[in-house]
Amino acid sequence: MKLIGLRFLALSSALSLAVACSQAATSPRYGGTLRVELHQSTINFDPREWQPGTAESATDEKLAALVFDRLVALDNYGRVQPQLATEWSHDPAFKRWQFTIRTAVKFSDGSALTSADVAAALQPLLISTQQISASGNTVVLQSTVPLPDLLEELSSGRYFIYRPQPGGGLLGTGPFFVSESTASPLDGKVSRYKLSANDSCWAGRPFLDAVELTLNVPALRALFDLQLARADLIELSPELVRRATQENLRVWTSSPLRLFALRFDDAQPSTADARLREALSLSLDRSTMASVLLQKQAEPAAALLPQWLSGYAFLFTVDTNLNRAKGIRAALPANAAAAAQPLRLRVDAPGDIAKLLGERVAVNARQALLVVQIVNRATPRGSASDASPASDPPAGVHLFEWHYSSLSPRAELESLFSVLNPAASLDDVNSATTPEQLFAIEKRLLDERRVLPLIALPEFAGVGRDVRDWMPSRWGDWHLADVWLDRPQSQPESSGAINPENSAQPSEARSPRSTQLAVQGAHP
């Protein structure tokens, strides 16, 4: 076939079509605004300010993925895929990693992404043993310890690439950019964001024209809005999952992403006795917590990391053995966890689930003749940390919630350990390079019973009937850039010009750069 023949083919096919060509109903369609309703009252797009493990940072991360990219990503099958980095290599010791940065990538304001941007974005997010430098179109990350799981780490959590703006906001290269934010007349806080499609996104323009985020929506109202088609995507509270299912709404469930657990305070003499911790552990009926309290939406947890992440969680088992718990209790000093000196349990995690779990722990403990007094007190950020004022009576045990974030088991364990016991050395976790080593570290902590996992809970979302190609990752990334809406709407390709299926440049007359906002951190 001669080139002239091919050109004729192209020309002929162009002349044959006077209107834009797009997809059939079973193939993606461009246009429309996805309406998302969230419980959270504020959003912070700045990854430098996120606190690992918190509910807020989990939502922030999910939304930041709409605006920013990472160097690499894991696909839904756990395979590393190039994003802003197109190639990577490492030395035999896994201490020096080199990444080649994708060319012709632009921030949403049209400026080019450089390797210096990448290095500047990542450096504040790295720990002190890691340094990153830029040269040409590559960046080099140097670590004093081996990092065989660096790709998993960089493909998750806060490792987004952004460019700080002089005014304090951040620019991204992702599929959307923040084009509008609306403050609530009540408190002046931003209550609604509009994220518009980034037409020049290197990975292709998203199918949606925009994503509209409404914050601070109560769970039940969000459910009604989904039923009435006033919302397309909502965060679904676990207690509403059964109801949503019964009403034939589309419910999506992730892998377990939230851990509820008890943490003993090492500084409190009331919990120093290992036998007390063992008695309490043996009294806990996790199966009832998962099946009754959480209406089978949760699963009992025996490990800190979930099976889907570590691969070895099945090796941990916990049994309820009330008789043995009573036996141990009987051998304890009479005043330990007794009515005169009850064991104070503070519920650090916010929300009704944590409160219910705290009460169930107290009931279980009482069956083993241990007296547990509940202190409900949620900490707004850093849920696993002790943030009680000095005036509060000390609590010997805390009920905390942890949201998994990293796709590197080592990094997740390190993050969890650093919050559970900030004073402890993390060297052994940092230097762990094999699943065996990580298992040993986790086992050691659990054998000491300083942390008692209770239940693991997935995330839930209610998905509107018009939402197509909803293919989130099982670890919670929504992948909204690939979602499209199957409902009548004004055609973005309505300019009348010939505009084929080139998704990168739909022809809607629009200038995102004229209206875009640099993303600002919004949490206090």
Binding site: S16, C21, A24, D75, G204, W308, G311, R468, A504
Partner: protein
């Protein structure tokens, strides 16, 4: 007109193979065939266990809590035992000093082999990441007129089109911005290599494309881009913006003139005594044209992807059409005949392990005249493995 331009080039077809393979050797990076990582890692785990038990007598229990099927797990268990015995470990349920529990679990990074070694009250654990499963090649499914699917090959990267050359012994899989070569060796398609196309525009989220083999020029159409290579000039690929509708290999561009409905997929076939065009539209309807610009009928039940096959069965031609799901659900393909302007089901529906993201007539020189479309190629995104699979579809007549 297009065919008249192409037809003289057929005389030079014999040049194609030599040129193309020369071109292949210049531009492709060849890949080595993959090893079986699960088996190797299972042996490594067994060696760890053998070292831990010092060649003693062990009893062995096993459990599979992974997504491996029974046969696959059983094979790994056999490998595990074989390696233990090769290392001097005797497996006996009685009089064993150690109890070994061999488990295959799944984690984010793939399968994990775990051996729990128990002796008395003490227990140690050996863990070995096994990696991911090797390629799974689904067997042919067949069930009046029968629609058959034949698995060709699969790869992790997206495929938008598959085209054949060298008498069907060489194939190109077109990706989002790259091409992958495959060679037919015996009955197996072996990966050859890949090459990135020097595209200028951003990636598209739609895996759409079309690849054309020419005599001395090959071309790739991607969303917004048209790439071409001359195998005579050895200058490599060059790409330029392309804002028009992608051509459909089995349909003359002239026959699409005047069809104003936005369409995604097209098929040309003989029905009711003449050549007909069917287009699947953005509105979810397929439209049948008899030559004019207005359809003579609409078909509401088909999905977005169609292709025609001349099997010689029934009325001679069939249309293959996908189902109505979006890309989150497994799809089906079914064969239809057009009679009296209406589609009629003539085959069973073939199930696939994921959405059918493209359905094309393959580009072979036998089909250039658009009369000899004996088969079609379906590209499926397997939702279990995440891999993109290519299948050849044929229709056989009733016994």
């Amino acid at each position: 007109m297009f065919n008249r331009q192409i037809r003289p080039a057929l005389l030079a077809f014999l040049r194609l193979s030599a040129c193309f393979f020369f071109f292949s050797s210049l531009f492709f990076t060849h890949a080595a065939p993959p090893a079986d990582p699960l088996e190797d890692a299972t042996r490594a785990l067994a060696r760890k266990v053998a070292a831990a038990v010092h060649g003693g007598v062990v009893s062995l229990a096993q459990q599979n809590i992974s997504s491996l099927n029974g046969t696959e797990f059983s094979h790994l268990n056999d490998v595990f035992q074989e390696e233990l015995q090769a290392r001097g470990v005797k497996i006996s349920p009685n009089q064993s000093a150690y109890k070994i529990i061999f488990t295959v679990a799944s984690g984010l990074s793939g399968y994990m082999g775990v051996a729990q070694i128990e002796r008395g009250d003490t227990s140690t654990t050996e863990i070995e990441p096994l990696g991911r499963a090797a390629d799974f090649s689904p067997s042919e499914v067949s069930s009046g007129m029968t629609l058959h699917k034949e698995f060709l090959f699969a790869q992790e990267s997206a495929i938008s089109d598959v085209a054949f050359a060298s008498g069907g012994k060489y194939a190109i899989a077109l990706g989002r911005q790259e091409i992958y070569s495959y060679d037919l060796k015996g009955e197996q398609w072996q990966p050859g290599g890949f090459q990135r196309l020097p595209t200028h525009s951003s990636l598209s989220r739609e895996p759409r494309g079309a690849y054309y083999f020419g005599v001395d020029t090959n071309a790739a159409y991607l969303p917004g881009e048209f790439c071409v290579i001359s195998t005579l000039e050895h200058k490599g690929w060059s790409c330029e913006p392309f804002r028009d509708h992608m051509p459909v290999r089995a349909v003359d561009p002239e026959s699409l003139v005047g069809k104003k409905v936005p369409w995604i997929s097209a098929a040309r076939l003989e029905a009711d005594g003449g050549m007909r065009i069917i287009l699947t539209g953005k509105d979810g309807l397929a439209r049948l044209y008899e030559g004019g610009s207005e359809p003579v009928t609409t078909i509401p039940d088909w999905g977005g992807e169609i292709a025609s096959v001349k099997s010689g069965c029934g009325v001679g031609w069939q249309v293959l059409a996908t189902g109505k799901n979006d890309w989150t659900a497994p799809d089906t393909i079914q064969a239809f005949e057009i009679k009296d302007h209406a589609p009629r089901v003539v085959s069973q529906a073939l199930d696939f392990s994921g959405p059918v993201i493209a359905l094309h007539n393959p580009s072979s020189w036998n089909s250039v005249d658009r009369v000899d479309a004996k088969d079609a190629v379906a590209i499926v995104h397997n939702l279990q493995t995440g891999r993109y699979e290519a299948y050849r579809l044929t229709v056989s007549c009733a016994e």
